[in-house]
């Protein structure tokens, strides 16, 4: 790695009609970090994810990923460059088995085409076996191996979240972007999710994490970015952000803002 920075965002701006979803957001994620992204509902967290992963085109600004600009690529090209994501409202391939979901994640790193599929030549067979093996390893890694052959839609909620992570990991991402992975989980499930995220980081994948569960964010994230009304209002270590008056104001409401502005 030539530099410490994996992802650099500069001046990211996005408007939907008259709504300013993101204005001039900039940040840097370093290799090996778990980087938190928090903010009240509607702050623009998911919009930022969608701009980053190519689902929306930004109205301004640009990302630099791993040293090269990530300008206006399509979602599939973004995935090929090494950014994989999960979705806030789980988007698995419901009528396919859990294992097949992860196998589809391997698509972008494999090449067999129509001829390989029809002829089943040695190359295609070897690739297919490797896809199967890797998918099983990953589904085991996230702890859903027992349900490998169940339809994804029949999995328990927490398992679906984990399966989505396995599917994203199958694309061999350098940056794993998770959109509220702990939403709807109970304390035990969240604790085991935390262990999973720590494992993923230890195994060399940088994580960008949107989360509302502050306990999780504060205990796992190296640095946190706080958005409010599409603007960056704070960035720093978990404890620093926690005590930032602007952040408290954003979470607790306007009246407090007035009082606190007087004190800072």
């Amino acid at each position: 790695m030539s530099t410490l920075a994996l992802l650099v965002a500069k001046g990211i701006t996005k408007r939907f009609g008259g709504v300013q979803a993101l204005s001039d957001v900039g940040f840097t994620i370093n290799h090996g970090e778990i980087y938190g992204l928090i903010g009240p509902n509607g702050a623009g967290k998911t919009s930022l994810f969608n701009v980053l992963t190519g689902i929306y085109l930004p109205d301004g600004g640009e990302f630099t990923f791993d040293g090269d600009p990530l300008s206006n690529l399509k979602p599939n090209d973004v995935a090929a460059r090494g950014i994989a994501r999960t979705f806030q409202n789980i988007r698995l391939f419901g009528n396919l088995s859990a294992l097949e979901n992860v196998m589809i994640g391997r698509h972008v790193r494999t090449n067999a085409g129509v001829w390989g599929a029809i002829s089943r030549n040695a190359g295609a067979r070897a690739e297919e076996a490797a896809i199967h093996k890797r998918a099983y390893e990953l589904i085991d890694y996230v702890g859903v191996a027992k349900r490998a052959n169940s339809l994804a839609k029949h999995l328990a909620y927490g398992d679906q979240r984990r399966l989505e992570i396995a599917r994203a990991l199958a694309t061999e991402p350098k940056l794993l972007a998770l959109d509220e992975p702990a939403a709807g989980m109970n304390a035990t499930e969240t604790a085991s999710l935390k262990r999973l995220l720590e494992d993923i980081r230890r195994d060399g994948t940088t994580i960008l994490l949107i989360e509302h569960d502050m306990k999780l964010v504060m205990s796992i994230c190296d640095r946190v970015l706080v958005l409010d009304y599409g603007k960056k209002i704070a960035e720093g270590s978990a404890s620093a952000v926690q005590n930032d008056p602007k952040v408290i104001a954003a979470y607790l409401g306007g009246e407090v803002t007035l009082n606190l502005k007087g004190t800072t």
Partner: protein, 359 residues
């Protein structure tokens, strides 16, 4: 689709079943011929519908793109064959050359339809494809002026049958003491092509490409986020589906000897779609069953409606054609009410019951 012919789990049963099916398919035309050659012809048409249903299944069943104009590719294949092997342009190319050409041209038309509709789904895609099917038919109807290409509504006649050297598929002859009529010869040829097409479909479904199609069907946004180039993969589905239709069209031309735009009306597209849906979208064996049933049932009714009425009431009360379609419609409605996922639902729905795989 491992439950069928799964030689691993129960080899004896699987091989016996397979042998039984092979023998039945080999003997079938002789049994049918004893009831009249018409039944062999009906069987041949049924096999063509199997090709069509399997082709459409790639687009609708695998990739989840609702196509209501599929018969257009059948028409393209049929006209390519007719134009290159008839007195119309006085061209008489061999069939083994024309069938791949027809598949290729149909494939191009598949991409032509796919490219502008990439962003459409569901109802909107259905409307556009429906229009596309009609456009092709109307073109065929009107391309007789200023240059006469398709001969308009009169159609093209005296289309060559399949020929390899002196061996003519349409001629009746005795081989090894057996009386081979034209339809029986075609039957065996179609059977071979059908096996090839089924193998291609099975292998496509269980491959990287097949999974990408299914991913698009399930959730296009997630598929793109997982790195699937949805544009190319959708175009591939249209192209593959269309080329199967093109091959079937060429064969249709050859066995009929005459084609006109009337053979490629909207109802035909709807019929092929009904075969796919009725059999079980996405399940290759279900789709084949759907195609066989929907091509045979109306014919069986055609020959039974009148005798049954005469036996019951002593005379024909209702016009056979009316009651045939009535019963047919009723059967479809009942099917959809009681087995909405099709006769043989897609395999993934059954996997839930199986034991987890070992690494």
């Amino acid at each position: 689709m491992h439950s069928f012919f799964d030689t691993g789990k129960n080899p004896k049963l699987a091989w016996t079943g397979l042998a039984l099916i092979v023998v039945t398919l080999l003997v079938l035309p002789w049994a049918l011929a004893s009831m009249g050659t018409a039944w062999v012809r009906i069987t041949n048409i049924a096999i063509l519908y199997v090709f069509l249903a399997l082709g459409l299944n790639i687009v609708v069943g695998f990739a989840g793109l609702l196509d209501l104009g599929y018969i257009a590719f059948y028409a393209v294949g049929a006209y390519v064959y007719a134009l290159l092997a008839s007195p119309h342009f006085n061209l008489h190319l061999p069939f083994w050359l024309i069938l791949p050409i027809g598949a290729g041209i149909a494939c191009m038309f598949g991409v032509l339809l796919g490219a502008p509709t990439l962003k459409l789904r569901g109802d909107y895609l259905a409307i556009v494809t429906l229009g596309f099917g009609e456009i092709i038919r109307i073109f065929l109807n009107n391309l007789s002026q200023p240059i006469n290409i398709t001969n308009g509504p009169q159609g093209i006649y005296m289309i060559d049958p399949f020929r390899i050297g002196d061996f003519n598929f349409a001629r009746r002859e005795t081989i090894l003491g057996l009386d081979f009529t034209g339809p029986i010869k075609y039957y065996y040829f179609f059977l071979v092509v059908m096996v090839i097409i089924i193998v291609i479909n099975l292998r496509l479904q269980d491959s990287r490409i097949g999974r990408a199609w299914e991913a698009i069907r399930e959730d296009e946004v997630a598929a793109r986020a997982m790195g699937i180039n949805t544009r190319n993969i959708k175009l591939l589905a249209f192209a593959m589906g269309a080329s199967f239709g093109g091959v079937a069209g060429g064969m249709f031309s050859a066995i009929q000897g005459f084609i006109s735009p009337e053979s490629f009306v909207l109802v035909e597209s709807v019929m092929v779609l009904a075969m796919v849906v009725l059999g079980g979208m996405g399940n290759i064996w279900g789709v084949i069953l759907g195609a066989v049933l929907l091509s045979f049932v109306p014919e069986v009714l055609r020959y039974t409606v009148t005798p049954v009425q005469e036996a019951l009431f002593g005379r024909t009360l209702l016009d056979p054609e009316v009651i045939r379609m009535l019963l047919f419609g009723l059967a479809l409605v009942l099917m959809m009410l009681f087995r909405p996922a099709g006769i043989l639902p897609s395999a993934v729905r059954k996997r839930e019951l199986e034991t987890p795989a070992k690494p």
